[in-house]
């Protein structure tokens, strides 16, 4: 093979189209170089470089938003760029930026190495962007594994805490299991699609390509091997989004992980899972009669389990983990409704935006209202927050209100869009379960607000016992600006969705 032949074969590898994945990964590498080059006392500036670099990338991405919108296949059909992909790029970049900001607050209390944390967060975010844009099972699996391996490390990052290590081990075992299930599904699909005896005419790309999988399913919607593969692939993705019956790891891992990582899992990993699920739902669309019942049962069970299990929690990290499970259920309803009307996806995307903004407001407050042991965050620790830290309490109330779906806030609009889509799709049973779930969720979200704001309802400390000191971290100005912006965004997006919703609906 000579050089020119190699060149023509590689002509489709258009690296410049990988914006911001490639710069983000390079920035991550640059951090490691800085750690080697800079003298030790200047190491504190490396997180600042990470955050400012991500802000610069975000600005560049937003300025150049239209540039990446054209639908095209690059890298020999491994990637498919689309407006949806562009939306997820912005979402993941904002997520990794916010995780980095929370990471600075959280790591300041620990004596752990710092730079690696930001490096891994950025690499994982870049891999998430590739995951939702993948158009080929090889790319899909490699990107998914990069995300998962990154999370194994991030979850067990605070290694002096036994709960963090335990969470890392649990996530490793469950992640390996889910990867195995997913891989088995991919192999079965590959076997069915690659079978020359069944190949419909006109499959040009390999049997791993999403387009040829879809073509095959159109020709043979009742192929048993392919159906088995579809169920297994959906199960593998359901592990990542924490949908019932694959939610078993969620509470322990969310509790043990450092708080910024919990936020990354809750928002980033879930959004990546849903991005992948939306892509796969399109690929599996010819097998609607199989996919819709599977997803419907999952969605109903997820909403009920998440909300009922969250009712009994006193540890706020477990509470937010289980409520996150129920949010995955609402999002699943949106994905199902999209089979009847593709416009339902705009509801899913808006819900993800609202969920990101509200979750990071809550996680930001959680990062400040905890001590060195990040797994130990009880509702009691929030006592008198409104009196001592009115700013944090206000942000918490807005964030929780948005998660609960209280009217003027963004979370309400997200839920409304998904419920309207479910109504017009005729999913009345799921809609009923979802409304019931929202009513249950108000109880535990407001229990948290009550713990933070209304000291009169607190149990009195028994006489003779010392009042326990409450862990609080002072809010520095960068975190103050971030939390303020998130709270304001939750309110503004609830009252005025502006061009976002127009753009989402126009697609």
């Amino acid at each position: 093979m000579n050089l020119s032949l190699l060149q023509s074969a590689a002509a489709d590898n258009r690296w410049a189209d990988l914006f911001p994945e490639l710069p983000l990964a390079l920035l991550a590498l640059f951090l490691l170089v800085l750690e080697i080059v800079l003298p030790k006392r200047q190491h504190r500036s490396i997180p600042v470089v990470a955050i400012l670099g991500q802000v610069a990338l975000l600005v560049a991405l937003l300025v150049n938003l239209r540039g990446g919108m054209t639908e095209q296949l690059t890298f020999n059909g491994l990637l498919r760029h689309s407006p949806t992909g562009q939306f997820f790029r912005v979402l993941f970049l904002v997520t990794s930026l916010l995780v980095s900001i929370l990471g600075v607050v959280s790591l300041a209390r620990q004596r752990m190495p710092r730079v690696e944390f930001f490096h891994i967060v950025m690499v994982v975010a870049a891999a998430m962007m590739l995951l939702v844009q993948s158009h080929h099972f090889v790319m899909f699996f490699v990107a998914l594994e990069t995300v998962t391996v990154g999370f194994y490390i991030l979850v067990s990052y605070f290694r002096t805490n036994p709960l963090s290590l335990e969470a890392g081990l649990k996530y490793l075992v469950m992640g390996a299991l889910s990867s195995a299930i997913l891989l088995f599904g991919i192999v079965l699909l590959y076997g069915a699609v690659g079978n020359p005896a069944l190949a419909p005419s006109g499959i040009a790309a390999g049997a791993m390509d999403f387009a040829s999988v879809r073509q095959f399913l159109l020709a043979h919607p009742d192929n048993f091997l392919a159906q088995l593969g579809i169920v297994l692939v959906l199960s593998g993705v359901a592990f990542k989004i924490g949908a019932v019956p694959f939610q078993i790891w969620v509470p322990d891992v969310y509790q043990g992980a450092p708080t910024p990582v919990t936020a990354f899992l809750a928002v980033g990993s879930k959004a990546a899972g849903f991005g992948a699920l939306v892509v796969l739902a399109g690929v599996f669309a010819p097998c609607k009669s199989l996919v819709i019942p599977v997803l419907s049962v999952m969605a109903g069970a997820t909403i009920l389990f998440g909300n009922l299990a969250a009712l009994t929690q006193y540890n706020v990290k477990r509470l937010i983990a289980l409520s996150g499970v129920s949010h995955a259920g609402y999002l699943l309803i949106g994905v199902i409704a999209a089979y009847y009307d593709p416009a339902a996806l705009s509801g899913v995307y808006f819900y993800l935006i609202a969920y990101l903004v509200a979750s990071f407001a809550v996680f930001g407050v959680m990062t400040h209202v905890c001590g060195e042991n990040e797994a130990d965050q009880e509702l009691e620790h929030y006592a008198d927050l409104a009196q001592t830290h009115p700013f944090l309490a206000l942000v918490l109330v807005i964030g929780l209100g948005s998660l609960a779906g209280i009217p003027p806030l963004a979370g309400f609009i997200g839920k409304l869009m998904i419920f309207l889509a479910a109504f017009s799709a005729g999913l009345y049973v799921l809609l009923g379960i979802a409304v019931l779930g929202v009513m249950i969720s108000i109880y535990y979200y407001f229990g948290w607000i009550k713990a933070a704001c209304f000291s009169a309802w607190r149990l009195p400390t028994p006489a003779g016992e010392a009042v326990p000191s409450l862990p609080r971290t002072p809010v520095a100005w960068p975190a103050r600006i971030t939390l303020g912006t998130l709270a304001v965004a939750s309110v503004v997006l609830g009252l005025w969705q502006g061009p976002i919703i127009g753009w989402l609906l126009a697609r």
Partner: protein
């Protein structure tokens, strides 16, 4: 001849895999696992996937099982006494076996496993190192680069989670 070899190798793979789970001594388990992998590599050879067979032997049999043996040696694991199964475990095992039987029966009955005869001149990408490498460095260049990052963060993770840090009290 090839059919007979297939059944022999398949039987060895399944039998040793079962013994891996069933044997009480951890070293025996690791050794049966090794045999199972070697038989699987034999199956790949029957499919003309020589590269895959060689990689399986080198990576799994060579590196992974050796690692297992090191860990077994370091932890000094003996067989030990297995606690008796609880009622719940037995119920779960019966249910799982039933489900698995139904699944396998459904698979055998309904999967259209009939395959058209493959023409012998069909290119087999995984067979030769050269064809495989050409694919890796042209079509699949992006996944290769991403795997590079995967390995990098995995290495960083090992360092972060195990390196001795000054003033850090690790749990024993």
């Amino acid at each position: 001849m090839a059919d007979l070899l297939f059944y022999v190798l398949g039987g060895v793979t399944l039998g040793t895999a079962a013994l891996t789970v069933l044997s009480r001594n951890a070293v025996n388990s690791a050794m049966f696992f090794l045999l199972s992998l070697l038989a699987t590599a034999g199956l790949f050879v029957l499919l003309d996937a020589y590269l895959l067979a060689a990689l399986l032997v080198l990576v799994y049999a060579g590196a992974v099982v050796a690692l297992f043996l090191f860990i077994i040696m370091l932890l000094d694991m003996q067989g030990g006494v297995r606690p008796p199964f609880t009622r719940a475990t037995i119920a779960a095992a019966v249910a799982a076996t039933g489900l698995l039987t139904v699944a396998v029966l459904g698979f055998v009955k309904r999967a259209q496993l009939s395959v058209a005869p493959v023409s012998p001149d069909l290119p087999v990408v995984g067979a030769s190192l050269k064809a495989y490498a050409a694919q890796l460095f042209t079509t699949y260049l992006l996944p290769v680069q991403v795997v590079g990052f995967l390995l990098l963060i995995a290495m960083l993770g090992v360092i972060v989670l195990s390196k001795r840090v000054e003033g850090l009290e690790d749990i024993k």
